[in-house]
């Protein structure tokens, strides 16, 4: 039997991978690299949680602890979360979902990955050279005039990797505008594509501001140009405004794609059209736009004016409304569905639950008088881990499981995958829920040691983290196993509706034998047919 040509057997040499222009192969390159960084960031988190078991912080010194949470933050934010879904699943799926043969700019796509690797090397180099101790937020004037660590090398890594984000965003925007198959109108786009589009806009508009801000850090630190340090005539709050002008929208870069993944999975496994498709699409855009106007909620106790605080608080409440609507609409999608609980669905439902808790605790923090108490405590840590780990990582794993048969052509053992999903869900809650309590009790973040009254909740959190770690290691095992021993998937094992399922698994290099023509919306499922069929 002749072997069917796929993107995977198009070449086997290392060079055939490193010089590929195929969006699917680039997605694989990204998947390998972000996974590597996820486990580097995870290793740092492990040592942090082990240190926090005792109030006196005996395991590592204060310097080492500070460098560990800096590595954890920098790596997880810029080298895992921001590229996670867009650069892996997004790269693989955007052309397939809109019926295109590749990205608009295949070479630029490969360039993005090389820039990502270069930024990664800078960052790993900075770690090996001694590491930075500024936290991922690089607050001035500490980062510019006081830290004695490798700040410039760490900043350089983040500066470089930003260009990778910008180029990926640009590529997605052009691809989605110009390369849709005949009949693929804007309101027939899968919601995953809408989230990729909104994410790309944020990446293109916000990342340059981060680049400028980081460059200003280097100018002040290296040349003594007074921008942020008041002793040089600068303003330290200016840095916070610039930094959060990027970094708050960046949170939506992490969570919008997760919402897209959840929408694909929930419709498929409940055999239902999404409830309120247009509302969902407009909510995605609303989140992206309003998300640019809420950065000041990171600064309620910074000394910014109380009137600014009141405006930023109001806008922060406003941005939560479209997120709330999305949770309601996912729930309504289940109504009268024909719901199957395969692993991707467990991940997606886990995402909805954890995202909801993360979102609601975000409202506590948007509430001015409460934030005065909660700011920079573990409550904030718990809140954003619910969004970024409970939300984004859960959805990322859901997406990996959902599209794994498409990407690899193989089926993984579903029982193991469901077990991993449950382990992660339980481990996650045990790790991070105690941190809400710690936060209200008043335990500040970035503390290497702490007053003993906080110990019991820290022990519980660390114990939960050990379960979470097992949960994250499991998929590595059974997914790798499936590559060799998994059953052949066939083009559409989930009987899903998207265009990506209408081509063989794994897809050929050109994606489609003939350009598909689209005649219906993305979620034309029928629960009645599924139940009887």
């Amino acid at each position: 039997m002749p072997v069917r040509a796929t993107y995977l057997n198009a070449g086997f040499s290392l060079w055939s991978w490193l010089s590929t222009h195929d969006h699917k192969r680039i997605a694989i390159l990204y998947t390998i690299s972000v996974t590597l960084f996820f486990f580097i960031g995870g290793a740092a988190a492990t040592i942090i949680r082990l240190t926090l078991i005792s109030p006196s912080g005996d395991l590592v010194s204060a310097e080492t602890y500070n460098k560990l949470f800096t590595i954890h933050g920098v790596v997880m934010v810029w080298f895992f979360l921001i590229p996670s879904i867009p650069a892996t699943l997004g790269n693989f799926l955007v052309p397939l979902m809109i019926g295109a043969r590749d990205m608009a700019f295949p070479r630029l796509n490969l360039t993005s990955w090389y820039i990502y690797v270069l930024g990664g090397l800078f960052t790993i180099g900075a770690m090996i050279a001694g590491g930075a101790d500024t936290g991922w937020t690089f607050y001035t004037p500490f980062s510019t005039m006081f830290s004695n660590s490798r700040v410039i090398a760490a900043v350089a890594g983040v500066f470089v990797v930003g260009f990778s984000s910008i180029l990926t965003g640009l590529n997605f925007i052009v691809t989605i505008h110009k390369m849709r198959a005949p009949g693929m109108t804007w309101f027939r786009l899968p919601l995953f594509i809408w989230t990729m589009y909104a994410t790309s806009i944020i990446l293109v508009l916000a990342t340059p501001v981060l680049a400028m801000t980081l460059a200003l850090i280097v100018f002040e630190r290296l040349l003594g140009v007074g921008v942020f340090d008041p002793a040089l005539g600068g303003d330290p709050l200016l840095f916070q405004h610039l930094f959060w002008f990027y970094s708050h929208p960046a949170v939506y870069v992490m969570v919008l794609p997760a919402m897209g993944v959840a929408s694909e999975i929930i419709t498929c496994f409940s055999r239902k059209n999404i409830f309120g498709y247009r509302t969902m699409a407009f909510c995605i855009l609303a989140i992206a736009v309003i998300g640019f106007l809420v950065w000041g909620h990171h600064m309620f106790v910074s000394g910014q004016s109380v009137y600014a605080g009141m405006v930023f608080s109001a806008l922060s409440f406003l941005v939560s409304v479209p997120s709330a609507i999305k949770v309601f609409n996912w729930t309504a999608t289940l109504y009268k569905g024909s719901i199957a609980f395969d692993a991707p669905m467990l991940y997606a439902l886990g995402f909805v639950g954890l995202f909801m808790i993360g979102g609601m605790t975000g409202l506590f923090l948007a509430s001015l008088a409460l934030d005065v108490h909660l700011h920079d405590t573990y409550f904030v840590i718990a809140h954003f881990h619910y969004i970024m780990v409970g939300g984004s990582v859960m959805a990322f794993l859901g997406g990996i499981h959902y599209w794994w048969p498409k990407i690899t052509g193989r089926i993984y053992p579903d029982r193991w995958a469901r077990f991993a999903a449950l382990t992660i869900f339980v481990g996650f809650n045990l790790t991070f829920f105690p941190q809400f309590i710690l936060g209200y009790l008043g335990m500040p973040r970035r503390y290497h040691q702490y007053p003993p009254e906080f110990q019991v909740w820290n022990i519980l959190s660390s114990a939960g983290a050990s379960i979470l770690a097992v949960g994250y290691l499991l998929p590595l095992g059974y997914l790798a196993w499936s590559l060799r021993y998994g059953a052949r998937a066939g083009p559409n094992p989930w009987r899903a509706k998207g265009l990506e399922w209408q081509t063989p698994s794994p897809p050929p290099t050109d994606n489609f034998a003939a350009t598909p023509v689209v005649t219906e919306g993305p979620y034309a499922y029928s629960a009645t047919a599924a139940a009887h069929g």
Partner: protein
Amino acid sequence: METFPLFPPRASALASRVDILFFSWLALAAVVATAIFLLIVVFAIRYRHGARVDRMLAPRTERLHRSHWIEAAWIAIPLCLFGVMYVWGAVLYYDNESAPANATPVYAVGKQWMWTLEHTGGRREINELHVPAGRPIKLVMTSQDVIHSFFLPVFRIKQDVLPGRYTTLWFTATKTGDYHFLCTQYCGTDHARMIGHVVVMEPAAFGRWMAGGIGQETMATRGAALFRQFGCSGCHAAGASVHAPGLEGLFGKTVQLQDGSTVVADERYIHDSVLLPRKDITAGYAPIMPSFEGQIDEAQLLDIIEYIKSLRGDG
């Protein structure tokens, strides 16, 4: 000490008000989360694959009509609820933004990695703050180096402490006791050791404590000595031959600047005039004042400010 503490003690009037807001949020979040969670579970069981239930949807037009109303409802309801909660949080925040006029000032300087606190009466403390119960206290804070943050969990307040400017934080303690204050803005290696105690005392006990500092001078007296020591008096004292602005009655006044603008002579104005004398040049005076950057530290500067405040002038 409780084994599983859930809430920090409430030691100020504000603490109870913040806790009520927090519990209201908790109740609202619990109701919404439980409702969504139950709906997901009920749908997941009732409409599981293979279950024999009616899955027929209403005709398309009727369905669209209904879903528009449903969506409108769950846009409007969160908007209204969030609106109420927003106003509540904002009003409480705004009410507590500025200290009452009769608040007793205490000066705080943060530096890597300790807090210096100074009472106007002259008593100085390191990583400790003694205050009387029942009286409003206003902390006037600045940093010698990087950004710190002064956090008093039992009072439910915090405020960042910035280099080059003064921020304030105020409270009225209601419960005597010994509580933590903590630095919450990451400030370098020993950030986690920048912890101190606030000791809330009965006013009489506080009075005795205050009087217990042996041979102490008031901040203003110390400021007067520094004023001479650094040579400020050579130009700014009455009868000096150099043409420099007089300082009697300056504090709180509006000052006319060279560039036509005006500025209120507050702590920050005096601070900047000493360290960055070219920033605000008083109208009618030559910019001849040298900078004292690197010579006077923040704690000394607070003494000098307190001295200038004490120069009431004749009017």
